[in-house]
Symmetry: C2
Subunit: 128 residues, 2 copies
DNA sequence: CTTAACGTGCTACATTTGTAGCATCCTCGC
DNA sequence: GCGAGGATGCTACAAATGTAGCACGTTAAG
């Protein structure tokens, strides 16, 4: 069974744009992220291609042009990454506490709760 | 000004051994980490070489054999990584709260305090 | 129509990471 | 003194990452 892929740092930058809108074209993603990435349009596109291969985004043609949507929700992906951080960096089996996410610009308090619930269930799974 | 290097996932595994002892030979590091890494001795050594190049460890010959010590303390490195996580994943300028580290097997409560202080000072620096 | 602008598919290429092997050389025990 | 085992220095190589360009086809505007 194919593990869900983790985005690299660069890929994460593009994912952010897709969490803010349900579906975007490569051009739109590029325009939305160029300020932060400073990449050429080509670089953005190649990264999107790879994200598609890895299953991080799902592509679909709309009116003839290719559009992308995040394969995992923001909360689900953040849960994955938080779990990795806890495991690999902190060497902890427990999920990060909600407090860790409090200052994130990406999450409101509802989402933090959702994330917390997800993390708890992920760590229980691990026990089995 | 050469930025302090961040360890990759593999490098982090070896660093852990060096945080538990002040100075170890390649062989000792390998023996201490083999269970987790499952690497060949060669793989361990190559990774150590690269860590030396990057300045993650400092090597010194003792009685003719090469020994390694972590260049940054455990707490300092964890502070770096926690800051990266907050910035890159959570998109937050605030440091992670102490609670985030509570379950880490790597830190006792004194070290968590120290880490917290470090994180705070790091984020202030960023403001300037 | 013709062309400029843009989308798409490919290819490219340097670095970093993950992982390992070989050839020597030194040293300790016999 | 000699040989086995370990230490060292190199080299290797595939995959992942970061970043970009080119050629070609389509389309909308003049």
């Amino acid at each position: 069974m194919a593990q869900l892929a983790r985005p690299s740092g660069s890929e994460l930058k593009l994912l952010r744009a897709l969490w803010a809108a349900p579906r975007l074209s490569a051009r739109e993603i590029h325009d939305a992220t160029e300020a932060r990435t400073k990449w050429s349009y080509s670089a953005t596109r190649t990264t999107l291609d790879r994200m598609e291969e890895k299953g991080l985004v799902k592509a679909k043609a709309v009116h003839g042009i290719k559009t992308y949507a995040a394969a995992q929700s923001k909360v689900a992906m953040l849960a994955l990454l938080a779990q990795d951080f806890a495991r690999n960096v902190l060497d902890s089996d427990e999920p990060l506490p909600a407090a860790a996410f409090a200052h994130s610009k990406l999450l409101d308090s509802d989402e933090i709760e959702e994330l917390q619930a997800l993390l708890d269930s992920l760590s229980e799974e691990g026990e089995r």
